[in-house]
Symmetry: C2
Subunit: 236 residues, 2 copies
Amino acid sequence: MSKAEVPARYLALAGELNELIERCELTPHSLLPSERELAERHHVSRMTARKAVSLLESEGKVYRRPPRGTFVAEPRVAFRVGSFSREVHDQGHFPSARLLSAREIEPSPSVRGALKLKPGEPAYHIRRLRLLDDEPFAIESTYYPASRTPGLLDDLPEGSLWDLLAQRYGIVPKHSRARLSVVSVEERTARELSLRPGTAGILQERRTVDGSGRAIEFARDLYRADRAAFTVEEDF
Amino acid sequence: MSKAEVPARYLALAGELNELIERCELTPHSLLPSERELAERHHVSRMTARKAVSLLESEGKVYRRPPRGTFVAEPRVAFRVGSFSREVHDQGHFPSARLLSAREIEPSPSVRGALKLKPGEPAYHIRRLRLLDDEPFAIESTYYPASRTPGLLDDLPEGSLWDLLAQRYGIVPKHSRARLSVVSVEERTARELSLRPGTAGILQERRTVDGSGRAIEFARDLYRADRAAFTVEEDF
DNA sequence: CAGTGGTCTAGACCACTGG
DNA sequence: CAGTGGTCTAGACCACTGG
């Protein structure tokens, strides 16, 4: 345990760097001094300088781009659960998607439960990389009851899957129930999002039903915690 | 950058420990081997063993209690924005609160904006530690317009502040708008929550209005990311 | 006093990339 | 080829706590 009176050196260094960022003396996407340089300037070992930078990285205040260096991050983008594309577009950002995989699967128990599938009933699984201003932002992992959306995987759109559900199948989302938690990004997802394993991510697990209460989608989306924030409205 | 084919040693060790936890061979609150012991058993340096344990800690899967050791964590508790006490109680948990400070303040610009205070109008600021089953769970930091709640700070309850607003002032919350983001816990808050600085926390910034649309509360609550999850309902 | 996690050092080698 | 971050070593000293 560190003494509260004398802050640890890595905390002191992180604090100094943070102040430079807060005061905009270091602006978004500008290059920080290298870890070796910080170590030398502040008379600490490289491991200690690195710990300071890692702290700022975990706060989403800087990002690393080896082997180019470490850069100041942009502020987070906020939006409501279930309306990423429209809201960020209204905020002047450019959302896009890239298909990672689309398969018919035998659903796991949790997916089967969420979609209320009968035993043996197949599901479609679609994974997409969501980008914001051409930077990786989230991994979308969605499941659909194959029986209600035959041929869904043929001719998948670049844009909204909900639009496709409406146009091709007449399925209209009515209500979502989501759960937000903070997780650490595991290896494959980290690679896809250009992050390192262990970085914080926001997991959104979401079940969506149509007007008749039937499950039409189950999602396990993972957002970069350093880039995303969620807004929530609640009535009492 | 690590080779994808040969996972880093700390990732391998973290994976092994994680499997023991997933398979319930290590149950909540059971003691992990010490970092020195893990290092010796797995033929790595202590710094590498420590990095593996830190990864699990950042995932909320273990928690450290120096100098006793490192323990397996409990699963997260989920609840809706704005109804912590009632929901977790219904889930069989015991919520409580401890007053940290209650003061009349000159509001900062952001608080003044959120509460729509006139220049020079004071606000009340209440900070409370929220506990769940007697373990620190969140720091509640709430602001109220002093003019609408005279004497609020006298005789503060252990329980719900919203109940107090209703009973003493006839003020009934009607609608909240919240923003959830992941932050790194700064030093004072970390101390209050028995965490180390840099741990992930969920910041809930929330503005609540009454039936006439007037702001009655602004909150900046910080939840332990390893303990809390939020549920959200959305209609389309 | 033994053992824990927290911090720190002064090195090392690696893969990767841009000039 | 120089420089970056990523990983790793083999130590060290510290504060703290429980027996």
